[in-house]
Amino acid sequence: MAETKQVIVKVKRQASPKDPARWEEFSLQWRPSMNVIICLRDIAENPVTRDGKKTTPISYDSNCLEEICGSCAMLINGKARMACSALVDQLEQPIRIEPLSKFPLVRDLTVDRQFMFESLKRVKAWIPIDGTYNLGEGPRISPEIQEKGYPLSNCISCGSCLEVCPQVNEHNQFVGAAIISQVRLFNMHPTGAMNKSERLKALMGPGGIQECANAQNCVHACPKNIPLTESIAEVNRDVWKQALLGWLTG
């Protein structure tokens, strides 16, 4: 085995939210087009650390493995990214793997991102249809609007934009770029626009759009290349216009 290439991986472990965190190092056999998920699977099959100590398999979230379900976001060499598309050959070794730091930890690399789904509720991120019975076609939408809306609707709720945002932390319940961008998407739709003012109002609440401080990390970190800063700017404009108008007209 001397001539086979090894991959050194360091994983931050934590048995539960109450337990202390610790690091474990693993040495794995390199294979072509290996990604971080394959590393974690190799460890699960043979959970022995580099110095020969037996340990438990690593708990982590994953599902589609093609960067569209949003499950496997974690910190890889200090950066928030999807583990499935993190190719070992493109990473500096030892590869450091940690859980996202801005969400409550469950175990090892598993975190609870329920906050994002609750935020979607808060901003009414849906189209208010009357019912699923047959009511004919939807409103016509120009290809131009579709081409703007489609990229926004690609958001996979992975949480990368929250993870990298300096304004998201234990003192600050900022909803984050993804949610603001969803507000833009639903306000853009002819039927969705019927809830526009409620959505904008929700974004003026605690943790609302005002918490954005324009560091613009979100747009760099987004694995789906969503124009998040553009969304924030546009929604910001809509919010203050509505606020000003509301203040002027009582």
């Binding site: 699960a44 960067e67 379900c69």
Partner: protein
């Protein structure tokens, strides 16, 4: 009046649609899912959703959609419900459109349609190359709205273990395990709708997501819910090989003009783009001039296998053929296929707009699934309903591209109100069932966990699973030979023996993914035998089921549905006739007009 309650297990398209419909019927619904429902496998569907709206003036009709579906499925599907589905499809598209799905549009602001495999019409509505994701999100958003109104309660980190079935053989709820606390609990309900999706993990690597293990279907099977047509497994012709997953390269790549070819010279050394046209073998176009690159999936898959294994023409001598979109204008590619081309670029580091993609077939979909009646998605156990990929009803022996999304939404849309109606009509609801029924089921499941956690053994579940996947992929996918199937079945039995000696490397009781996987693996092994035995018995070739020793379809003996039953802890195969009351079976050929 008694307030009924419904449980939905599975939060993909079918489960979400069922949930919405139950909520609309005014019945409280609890939705169980292993992952937050927005992360369900439906997001992986790429190409589109079929509906004969005839928006390109080609004279398309729902009858033609129906005929294409039945014909594509090689006449194994019961016809009346398929007809209803095709008739409902345009309405489903309208509904999704109203829900705000960002479908691609024509300059007039109408929905755009593309061509897909197995049809000659532009019948497939699409949202870029991530249609499944867009559809799932639309339903997810509606469910979230109902959740905000307290009509739906979600359990999004919970795995289904078993149904709670009373002495009268009626389902009264479920037993589920919280994947964080590992706590086993029972939940009473008057009816349960299963929408637990695909079974890809049974084949080791597939185009499916990690959660698509078929474990729930298998658990139900072992509780007396019949499983139909398990042997019909769709292998998608074009996937990107990978060690963790075979990533799908959507049929839409061919729908938009992508061409499949190999160099005519097996020793070809030149880069693909410098190989002149005359020296390229566009084998699908040559063999199937009418449908060309858009023949149904089973046909394309076998053609690629033939090219690679018999003609020895695989690219660079490997198991791969070219899927070429480099001749399509960049602007079109970016507008219509960006999502899928990005996947290729991201995972292989090669730009498919410049360099033809290398692809190979991969296990993709199960046409077979939980047996349901031809009426309202009810299974043979009262109170249990099934919808989506986990049931068997709509695709016969082979599914046409872009028909799965429509069958999920249609099936879920039927199951919801049917379950609600059943629950309302029940004289005695789940609340009147003595708690001992629930406690007994809970105890049975807890004991299973305890045994797994405490036993000392020598086998690793992941090692068993890897070996298992290789066996299934090699012998129970594209080409089936009886002696190999027998061998595969025997090997699965030995794996079942080895499973009894597994040793969990994690014995903790908090977020223990090893324990959950071990439980799934046991169920997967049983379902794999259902598939293998079904394939072994069916001595004919039909749709995705291909036996070189029996190369023809045999309607006289095999125009029938396989219905597997669990009797005395063993698998028994029974058969029932197919409802062919609407279209008379005819030979299925794609090299000429049908």
């Amino acid at each position: 009046m008694r307030q009924p309650k419904i449980i939905v297990v599975g939060g993909g398209l079918a489960g979400l649609m069922a949930t919405i419909r139950v909520a609309e019927a005014g019945v409280p619904v609890e939705l169980f899912s292993i992952v937050p429902v927005k992360r369900s496998h439906s997001v992986c569907a790429q190409g589109g959703i079929n509906a004969a709206k005839n928006q390109k003036g080609e004279g398309d009709t729902t009858d033609k959609h129906f005929d294409d579906t039945i014909y594509g499925g090689d006449f194994l599907a019961n016809q009346p419900l398929v007809k209803r589905m095709c008739e409902a499809a345009p309405g489903i598209i309208d509904l999704l459109d109203r829900m705000g799905v960002m479908f691609n549009r024509t300059p007039e602001g109408l929905l755009d349609y593309r061509r897909f495999g197995g049809t000659l019409y532009h019948r497939t509505a699409f949202a870029g190359a991530t249609t499944g994701q867009q559809l799932l999100y639309a339903l997810d958003e509606q469910v979230r709205r109902h959740e905000a109104e307290d009509k739906v309660k979600k359990f999004e980190s919970s795995t289904f273990l078993s149904a709670v079935i009373d002495e009268g053989r009626v389902c009264r709820g479920i037993c589920a395990m919280d994947l964080r606390s590992m706590e086993v609990k029972t939940y009473a309900a008057d009816a349960v709708i299963f929408a637990t999706g695909g079974i890809g993990a049974i084949f080791g690597r597939s185009t499916n997501s990690v959660v698509c293990t078929g474990s729930a279907q298998s658990a139900l099977f072992q509780q007396g819910v019949d499983y139909a047509n398990g042997e019909f497994i769709q292998v998608h012709p074009t996937a990107i090989p990978g060690e963790d997953k075979l990533r799908l390269m959507s049929e839409s790549a061919r729908g938009e003009g992508g061409r499949v070819w190999v160099p005519r010279n097996p020793a070809e050394k030149r880069p693909p783009r410098s190989i002149p046209e005359a020296e390229r073998f566009y084998f699908l176009e040559e063999w199937y001039p009418k449908y060309g690159n858009l023949v149904p999936r089973d046909i394309a898959t076998r053609a690629i296998h033939r090219i690679v294994y018999q003609e020895k023409l695989g690219v660079d001598g490997q198991a791969a053929v070219y899927l070429d979109v480099t001749h399509i204008p960049r602007e079109t590619l970016d507008r219509k296929l960006e999502g899928i081309l990005e996947i290729y670029e991201k995972f292989l580091g090669v730009d498919p707009r410049v360099e033809p993609m290398k692809v190979f077939p991969a296990m993709h979909y199960t046409m077979g699934g939980i047996w349901v009646n031809g009426e309202d998605q009810a299974t043979n156990v009262p109170g249990i309903y099934a919808a989506g990929e986990c049931e068997y009803q709509y695709h016969g022996a082979n599914r046409l591209g872009a028909n799965s999304l429509v069958s999920c939404i249609f099936g879920g849309g039927i199951a919801g109100p049917a379950a609600a109606q059943y629950a309302k009509n029940l004289e005695k609801g789940a609340e009147s069932i003595p708690s001992v029924v629930f406690d007994a089921e809970k105890k049975r499941q807890e004991e299973k966990n305890q045994k797994l956690i405490s036993q000392d053994g020598s086998e690793n579940p992941i090692t068993i699973w890897r070996e298992f996947g290789y066996i299934m992929t090699e012998h129970v996918t594209v080409t089936r030979i009886n002696k190999n199937l027998e061998m595969a079945e025997a090997k699965i039995r030995t794996l079942q023996e080895r499973y009894k000696k597994i040793n969990l490397s994690d014995r903790t009781k908090w977020s223990n993914q090893t324990l959950n996987f071990a439980r799934e693996l046991e169920n997967m092994l049983i379902l794999a035998r259902v598939i293998t035995l079904g394939a072994l018995a069916r001595n004919e070739s039909r749709g995705a089921h291909y036996k070189p020793d029996f190369p023809d379809r045999d309607d006289a003996n095999w125009l029938k549905t396989t219905r597997a039953k669990w009797v005395n802890n063993e698998i028994q195969l029974a058969y029932e006739p197919v409802d062919i009351s609407l279209i008379r079976p005819r030979a299925r050929r794609y090299d000429a007009a049908k």
